[in-house]
């Protein structure tokens, strides 16, 4: 048997499976628990009280709660790549082999070096960092912050990639229910019987909520039997989905909710093909929040000593897990409900040391319970706790009237009353409202369609929970249009709940409000004295409520103390704004499938797999994978390959997949008129069978996109866009069609994916095409002139479209075939072109040839240039209106000193030109005042045997031949360049027309 005996496990009872012992390790020591335990309950059962060190003062901390509100018992769960910091031991399910480690201690939990921080505690007050580390400013990043981060903080992230998978899914329902306590189950029953589609989310792995610990009688059945009966009835209904281990963490507009399902967190690792967690987006017509309430601590000196525990949590450990947090228990309460812990403890055979009740009156029933149980009831408050890392030893009591008393105990149960869980209902900026009778905030201003029921609504009695839950479920179903009879609500009695509000007991020593962030009552008082009185200021100045628990156990006490010291009422003081998520959600769950190679969708061209076979190197261009170049054996780098590809095209023939260009069918009688309005030049007069280069502006007069458009029929144009703007241009054209020019009869369809399109370029292009095109087609300069566009037959029977357009300055055609023939086409081009040395080329060679030819592309069409800047001002029609026409005429857009496209080459032919280099007049010291532009595109030109480029330079076209200075502060380079004609290659265009 590994580990010691479970010293604090009751011999019977509890919702644990004693036939399934599980061994686990905490801080390297082996223990045993049972199936059905949480890590916290298993630690309790093994008598472990000290589980962590606090954030700032490194004080010893134990387990405070038994749920997701836990501020103290945070551990690093698992090891290696799966290590997860700040995991709540109170919700982590035990599994065989679980490994957990305490956090924020060195070298060990029991002997924590950083606990010396406690000696300096008087200076670690609210705002300490702001006040102390103000100067010198440069010390902050270098010295202060790293030192502070080492000393403070919680667990360590794994630091390596998470090996597990996460996914995301959508769900839809009529009625969504948060919580499976009495209110949630009653709501599910009512909604389900009404015929509604129901989703019930429960963050626990067991259903029943507080019933699991507090029991009760419902419909004359013990709570456990009622749960079973209810679940059986729900299972028989057609559309009820119950999701355990699932926390509803947020509500968003339009009835969309966020939930996190811990699908396999309860196992050492997810089974094959399964995910660790799943993020749900649940669209619900109505939502019933039956998320219960959170018992609140009372702030007193030493209230963070291990062994001080919420009264309800103590009941949970004893009843649900048969684990005893203490043997001799004291209770400090200000309300009736706390006394239930005494009953539970007595039933379990534990000793009651005393009950400290802050109320003036204690009920006769409890008085007689005290005399029967042989313990005293002290009317007063706990003012101090003696003890430390080994737990509570002695409790000091200030009696009403001034006397003092001491109580010896090894555990202190505390109940300050209950706060409804108002998170979900407040996420749309709803401000909860104060209810004096229960001294708590209850939901108000919930998002549309959301209602709270039961304890979440401030109605704590079991009978009330059932009634309210049932009514809320039935009415939610009705609102969703489901009207079957819901029958009768489950019935139970309501327990008494009376309390005298008590938030803070004065005393010597630190009294914690926010355990996780080590915020004390005196920090709150200090904040008030220093003027940070508004709760939003209080929060940020002291960091109250800003830890991973979001102040579930501390916010209300903090603002109550603020109210007291500022002389206001609690509702006047108010709450801070509540924001999702209700519990921390792993980034991995938000990312889901979208990581690594599947970070985003990928688009592949029709020749992709062929290019892979060729050994192409690919570049990501938006979503596309494009062949960048095709390396061959013996080539030492990319430049070798690209240079070869360019020379092969200029000297023979090559082809490049340009299927990534956006392609749009523009149909209809008004297609030409439509294009006239979206392009600066005219298309209505384009002859059928012809292509034309077009430029689009934005309405503000700057260039939007360019491309060629061909007229294939009287009422059919085929428009192309740049790769980058394909989707946006489609959206823009649809806007023009649907919003701006609804009177035009025009239809648009994206055909980007319908056509595989290749550019074939080089002096031997026509020779290659003759091999592949049906001999009946006339490809001569007369039969198919420059800017011709028409359908042709290919050998072997299929049809293609040919466009005689050139981006390289060479004799060139673009050929397109239906996409599923794309791969056959490249193979046939290779076959037919073998005799001409046909060479596939990638986007780099394409780029080199367009720079050599002075064509503008993305770096020049950069959202700041006008048509004239690009040297295309003459294209702008003066005979028609078009988008951007008026604004393009603005003074600044036609100013003579604008930066315009010009060619650039280093005066030293051996020099490499780099894009991004700034252009400065020769002989001047570079600075913002004399910056005249920059280099936009560069390439090594195999044709000119030197680096060349294009740039945007002030008055560039008037300065051809001028030597200027290129200043590149990023790379520390300075050199002279010559401004030149941007058309480096074949300036009169003879080659592409020949």
């Amino acid at each position: 048997m590994v580990g010691g005996p479970q010293t604090h496990r009751l011999s019977n009872g509890g919702l644990i499976d004693r036939s399934a012992p599980l061994s686990f390790r905490f801080d390297g020591k082996t223990f045993v628990g049972y199936q059905g335990d949480t890590l916290a309950s298993a630690l309790v059962a093994n008598g472990v009280k000290l589980v962590g060190r606090s954030f700032k003062y490194h004080r010893p901390r134990g387990i405070l709660t038994a749920g997701s509100e836990e501020p103290n018992a945070l551990v690093e769960l698992r090891t290696g790549a799966r290590r997860e910091p700040n995991t709540k031991a109170t919700t982590a399910e035990l599994y065989e082999g679980l490994e957990a480690a305490s956090q924020n201690r060195w070298p060990s939990l029991r002997h924590d070096f950083m606990a010396v921080n406690q000696l300096f505690a008087p200076i670690f007050v609210a705002g300490f960092y702001y006040k102390t580390f103000m100067w010198p400013a440069k010390f902050w990043e270098a010295i202060y912050e790293p030192a502070i981060r080492r000393a403070a903080g919680l667990g360590r992230a794994a630091g390596i990639a998470d090996p597990d998978h996460y996914d995301k899914a959508w769900a839809h329902c009529d009625v969504l229910i948060a919580g499976s306590g009495p209110a949630g189950l009653a709501a599910a029953l009512a909604a389900g019987r009404s015929g509604a589609r129901v989703i019930l989310c429960e963050e626990d792995f067991a259903l029943g909520g507080r019933l699991l610990a507090d029991g009760g009688t419902i419909d004359r059945l013990p709570a456990a039997d009622w749960i079973s009966r209810t679940l059986a009835e729900l299972a028989a209904l057609p559309d009820i989905r119950i999701m355990t281990r699932t926390t509803l963490f947020g509500v968003y507009d339009g009835g969309t909710h966020g939930a996190i399902e811990r699908v396999n967190d309860h196992l050492p690792s997810p089974p094959e093909q399964q995910v660790r967690q799943r993020l749900w987006r649940i669209v619900a017509k109505r939502c019933v929040v039956a998320a219960g309430a959170i018992e609140r601590p009372i702030v007193f000196a030493g209230n963070d000593t291990p062994g001080v525990m919420m009264a309800s949590a103590m009941r949970t450990y004893v009843t649900r897990y048969a684990a005893t947090p203490a043997r001799r228990v004291a209770l400090f309460t200000n309300n009736e409900d706390g006394w239930r812990t005494v009953e539970t403890a007595l039933d379990a055979g534990l000793q009651i040391a005393a009950v400290i009740d802050a109320r003036a009156e204690v009920s006769p029933a409890h008085r007689s319970l005290a005399s029967k149980g042989g313990f005293t009831v002290l009317n007063g408050s706990v003012s101090g706790v003696e003890g430390g890392k080994d737990g509570v030893k002695k409790i000091s009591v200030s009696m009403t009237g001034g006397a003092r008393a001491e109580v010896e105990a090894d555990g202190l149960a505390v109940s300050g009353g209950w706060n409804p869980a108002v998170g979900l209902t407040s996420y749309h900026r709803g401000r909860p409202k104060w209810r004096g009778d229960i001294a708590a905030f209850v939901p108000d201003g919930a998002p549309p369609g959301m209602v709270a029921a039961g304890a979440a609504n401030g109605d704590f009695g079991l009978g009330a929970c059932l009634r309210e839950g049932f009514a809320a479920g039935a009415s939610a179903a009705r609102d969703a249009g489901r009207n079957r009879k819901a029958g009768a609500a489950p019935v139970a009695e309501d327990e008494a709940y009376s309390l005298t509000p008590l938030w803070h007991v004065a005393g010597k020593g630190k009294a914690f409000v926010d355990y996780q962030h080590d915020v004390t009552a005196s920090d709150v008082e200090l904040a008030q004295r220093e003027g940070f009185e508004s709760v939003e200021h209080l929060k940020r100045y002291t960091t109250l409520g800003m830890a991973t628990d979001q102040g579930k156990t501390s916010n209300i006490a903090g603002l109550a103390i603020m109210a007291a010291v500022s002389g206001k009422s609690i509702p006047e003081t108010g709450t801070t704004i509540y924001r999702p998520p209700y519990v921390p959600v792993a980034i991995g769950a938000f990312a889901g499938h979208h990581r690594d190679e599947t970070f985003h969708a990928t688009r592949l061209t029709p020749s992709h797999h062929w290019a892979v076979e060729q050994g192409a190197v690919f570049v990501d261009t938006g979503l596309w994978k494009r062949a960048q170049w095709y390396p061959r054996a013996g080539e030492k780098d990319w430049l070798d390959s690209v240079t070869r590809e360019v020379k092969a095209v200029r000297g023979g023939v090559g082809f490049c997949d340009v299927s990534t260009l956006g392609k749009i069918d523009v149909h209809g009688p008004d297609a030409g008129a439509f294009l006239d309005r979206v392009y600066i030049n005219t298309f209505s007069n384009l002859a059928v069978g012809k292509a034309r280069y077009g430029l689009m502006l934005r309405e503000d007069g700057l260039v939007y996109d360019d491309g060629t458009t061909s007229r294939l029929a009287e009422d059919h144009y085929f428009l192309t866009t740049t790769t980058a703007k394909a989707g946006l241009v489609m959206q823009h054209l649809e806007f023009c069609r649907q919003v701006l020019f609804p009177e035009l009869d025009v239809q648009l369809t994206s055909v980007s994916d319908q056509w595989a399109q290749f550019s074939i370029a080089g002096p031997k292009t026509r020779d290659l095409l003759k091999e592949i095109v049906d001999p009946a087609e006339d490809l001569s300069n007369e039969g198919f002139p420059f800017m011709g566009a028409r359908e042709v037959a290919l050998r072997g029977g299929i049809k293609a479209r040919l466009f005689r357009i050139s981006f390289s300055g060479e004799m060139a055609f673009e050929i397109s075939v239906p996409a599923r023939y794309g791969e056959a086409l490249v193979r046939n081009l290779m076959l037919a072109g073998k005799q001409f040395g046909v060479t596939p080329y990638g986007t780099e060679a394409l780029g080199v040839m367009r720079v050599e030819k002075g064509h503008v592309a993305g770096p020049e069409l950069n959202g700041t240039t006008t048509a004239a800047d690009l040297g295309l001002g003459k294209m702008m029609s003066t005979k028609k209106d078009f988008i951007g026409r008026v604004m393009a005429g603005r003074e600044a857009l036609v100013a003579p000193d604008r930066q315009v496209v010009v060619g650039i080459k280093p005066t030293d032919k051996a020099r490499r030109l780099r894009s991004g280099a700034h252009i400065i007049p020769k002989g001047q010291t570079p600075g913002p005042d004399n910056d005249q532009g920059y280099v936009t595109s560069v390439c090594f030109s195999p044709t000119l045997d030197q680096w060349i480029g294009l740039g945007l330079v002030e008055r560039g076209r008037e300065r051809i031949g001028e030597i200027v200075h290129a200043h590149d502060p990023l790379r520390g380079e300075d050199y002279d360049v010559e401004l030149c004609n941007p058309v480096f290659y074949d300036p009169d265009g003879g080659r592409q027309r020949g």
Partner: protein, 206 residues
């Protein structure tokens, strides 16, 4: 002179490996690519919605869908794809763009999309669970009955989704996705389905 073969290649030809995938045992999801089809986008011209409807009825014997629905005829399926437009899905050239062109002359503009999409059918006991990871559309029996259609997105990719006739008592969901996105979405679908076990195949039957 070289002899050219014009082999038609589906964008999924390499990615699709017929057989089982994911968790072993009874497959919860069947993924079948339909490889051979004609697909035409039909868009009514201005003021010609009624003429287009009339032309559709004359050609196909049924009213073209005027709402997100798919209408089956013996040799074609008409699928709503947006306001005043629909797809004609058919096979073997019966309703190819050449065959249908004259029927809609003057009333609608036609665009051939036969190569622009990949068609997949998803079925099996876990089809809805798997699709819930990909689509925000509610596919519940009551919300998405047989014949329901949607122009929507999966993984930020536009798709056309419709429910065909049940097969072996199981719902069948058909999916048209842009061809250049198809391989990427295919892998995403496999990832989504792996935990249920997948049976992968392809077919030429619509």
């Amino acid at each position: 002179m070289a002899e050219f073969s014009w082999e038609v290649r589906s964008p999924l030809e390499r990615a699709l490996v017929a057989g089982p995938y994911g968790v072993r045992g009874d497959a919860g999801v069947s993924l079948t690519e339909i490889r051979s089809f004609d697909l035409i986008q039909v868009m009514a011209r201005r003021g010609k919605a009624a003429d287009m409807a009339e032309a559709a009825r004359a050609r196909f014997g049924v009213a073209a869908p005027d709402a997100p629905k798919a209408v089956g005829t013996p040799d074609a399926t008409l699928i709503w794809s947006g306001p005043d437009q629909f797809f004609v899905l058919s096979k073997a050239g019966k309703h190819s763009i050449e065959a249908v062109g004259s029927a809609f002359a003057g009333s609608a503009s036609l665009s051939d999309q036969s190569h622009a999409r990949v068609l997949t059918s998803v079925s099996g006991t876990k089809a809805r669970a798997m699709l819930a990871k990909l689509t925000s559309i509610d596919l519940h029996q009551g919300a998405f009955p047989i014949g329901a259609a949607a122009a929507t997105s999966m993984d930020h990719t536009s798709v056309t989704l419709w429910r065909g006739d049940d097969r072996d008592g199981q719902a069948v969901f058909n999916l048209l996705v842009f061809a250049t996105f198809a391989e990427s979405l295919w892998h995403t679908m496999l990832d989504a389905a792996a935990e249920y076990g997948v049976n992968i195949g392809h077919s030429d039957e619509l």
